[in-house]
């Protein structure tokens, strides 16, 4: 698949140690362009729209902020909005985003058994931007992976 130079640069910056130590690709063996293509197909199959989901995530983040750093109930879910010092640049070089981590899990599932990216949604301001503008949900195995099935469960009804 032919890639534009801007994309090649962006994908290089997704690797571990460039912007974040873990990188954005988890332990996924697929190249980023394949991850994006497959997730776009999955979104279409589930009837989801990237802009709507991004807005949904923003609503979750705002709801979590009321908990002041502690988890807070939102329907069947627990949302916890945490903050960290610093900014993260987008790999596509189109913005700087505040470092934070919002986690969303089912209220009846104990925290110890939750796996990030699989049954607990973890995202930051940068994740929302990557999803909305670049349709990038991160590689499997990354704790910040936005699994489309999970997004449908958690980011839609709110």
């Amino acid at each position: 698949m032919k890639l534009r130079p801007a994309e090649i640069k962006a994908f290089e910056r997704m690797r571990p140690g460039v912007i974040t130590i873990q990188g954005f690709l988890g332990n996924d063996i697929r190249p980023p362009e394949e991850i994006i293509a497959e997730d776009e197909a999955e979104f279409a199959r589930l009837g989801l729209d990237f802009e709507t989901i991004a807005s949904g995530l923003e609503k979750l983040r705002a709801a979590g902020e009321r908990g002041l750093g502690e988890p807070i109930s939102l329907g069947k879910f627990l949302v916890q909005t945490g903050d960290a010092r610093g900014m993260l640049p987008c790999p596509y070089n189109d913005g700087l985003y505040h470092k934070n981590a919002v986690s969303v899990r089912a209220a009846d599932q104990p925290f110890e058994s939750c796996v990030e990216g699989e049954d607990m949604l973890v995202f930051s301001d940068l994740s929302i931007h990557l999803l909305r503008v670049h349709h990038f949900c991160q590689g499997r195995g990354s704790p910040f992976r936005l699994e489309p099935e999970l997004l449908k469960k958690m980011a839609v009804s709110e």
């Binding site: 130590i21 009321r66 908990g67 988890p71 909005t81 903050d83």
Partner: protein, 372 residues
């Protein structure tokens, strides 16, 4: 000589010769010799070997400039003022520089290479910072996501004020290729110079907290650097209004135990507001209750935001900011003045500052630990 050997041997010979010349040139070019670094107008002078980054060079001399990323240029924590002209700001420094920083010659210590004598300025407190080799003495689960880590220090003692923090050095582990440093407040008493105790809460996706919760074991060796921070008890008679939840309790545990043990700051009354969601998120309830029962100037106010009926919670209910508001209007004695002490996420700190200001505290008397 066999014609087949002549070719390869010549190529090898030329390559070796060139490599030798390059190696000699490297020795010569990268040997900047002994250089002088003058800190804070000559207060401290170092003689160092040039060629490496300022951060590492200072570190080798026992001066630890804070760094969360270990010198890779991705955290901006190692800012310092470089008075000597070392050229224009590098592209790698620019993302962390405000226009004011550029005017004031603030540079990132991890990006500046020491190639000539330098005059720099560092905050005074950096000089008392040391690196400690410690051993994990115990790991206790306080809640499902908070652990109490007790570290015993080998060979040295630590001197710090209650409320300060250390940088925990997280080595490469699992799939993390590099070491990082993260800041945690000390919950141990300053009087215990051989230990450092930390309260660490698991952050989803967090590199350091995942290491502590899933990989660290009793008996492991851990490096910490410190002490850092300006969060401490202020020597005034004013009453302390402290608010923290979760691992934010750490600096307050240190402060409370210090004051109780040594009788320091005898005029101050202390109110501690501890917010959580359910009883499963609470910890040290018994210890705090015992302390407030035996120590008249200490008042402990735990509050749950979503207690379940079966928990039979008898304490305050609601968001900690609402409980704080109520108490500031009602129960707290203002005769000696009020000071606010906050530790938590920026969202929580901002919300509490608003409540405190609404209730008559002035912003210059509200202190908070900024790094959460």
């Amino acid at each position: 000589m066999s014609p087949i050997l002549v070719g390869p041997l010549t190529v090898a010979g030329i390559s070796t010769f060139l490599a030798l010349v390059i190696a000699i040139l490297d020795k010569f070019l990268n040997n900047y010799g002994q250089l002088k670094i003058s800190i804070n107008g000559g207060k401290k002078e170092l003689t160092v070997k040039g060629g490496s980054a300022l951060l590492g060079t200072l570190g080798a001399e026992g001066i630890f400039v804070p760094s969360a990323c270990g010198g890779r240029g991705s955290c901006g924590a190692c800012k310092c003022k470089v008075i000597t002209d070392v050229g224009p700001h590098l592209p790698t420094e620019m993302p962390y520089m405000s226009p004011r920083d550029i005017e004031d010659n603030i540079r990132l210590a991890c990006q500046i290479k020491v190639r000539k004598d330098l005059a720099i300025e560092l905050p005074e407190e950096l000089f008392s910072i040391k690196k400690f080799q410690t051993r994990v003495e115990s790991i206790k689960d306080l809640t499902y996501d908070i652990k109490e880590i007790l570290l015993s220090i080998d060979g040295q003692t630590i001197e710090f004020q209650a409320g300060q923090y250390v940088q925990l050095v997280v080595p490469p582990y699992g799939e993390m290729p590099e070491s990082v440093q993260r800041a945690y407040s000390m919950s141990s008493r300053p009087g215990d110079a051989k230990h450092v105790e930390l309260l660490i809460r698991l952050v989803p996706g967090g590199i350091a907290t995942t290491w502590v919760h899933k990989f660290l074991k009793e008996g492991d060796t851990v490096e910490v650097v410190g002490p850092f921070g300006e969060f401490r008890i202020h020597d005034t008679p004013a009453s302390m209004i402290c608010v923290a939840g979760g691992s934010g309790m750490a600096p307050f545990k240190s402060m409370l135990n210090h004051m109780h043990e040594t009788g320091a700051f005898p005029e101050k009354e202390i109110w501690y507001f501890f917010g959580a969601r359910t009883t499963k998120d609470m910890f040290y309830l018994d210890e705090m209750a015992a302390l407030s029962a035996s120590w008249p100037r200490f008042h402990f106010v735990p509050a749950l935001s979503e207690p379940k009926p079966e928990e039979n919670w008898k304490g305050e209910v609601g968001l900690i900011t609402d409980v704080l508001d109520r108490y500031l209007q009602g129960n707290v004695d203002r005769a000696k003045g009020l000071e606010g002490y906050l530790c938590g996420s920026p969202g929580m700190i901002n919300a509490c500052i608003n409540v405190m200001k609404r209730n008559g505290l002035t912003e210059d008397k509200i202190y908070f630990d900024k790094f959460a």
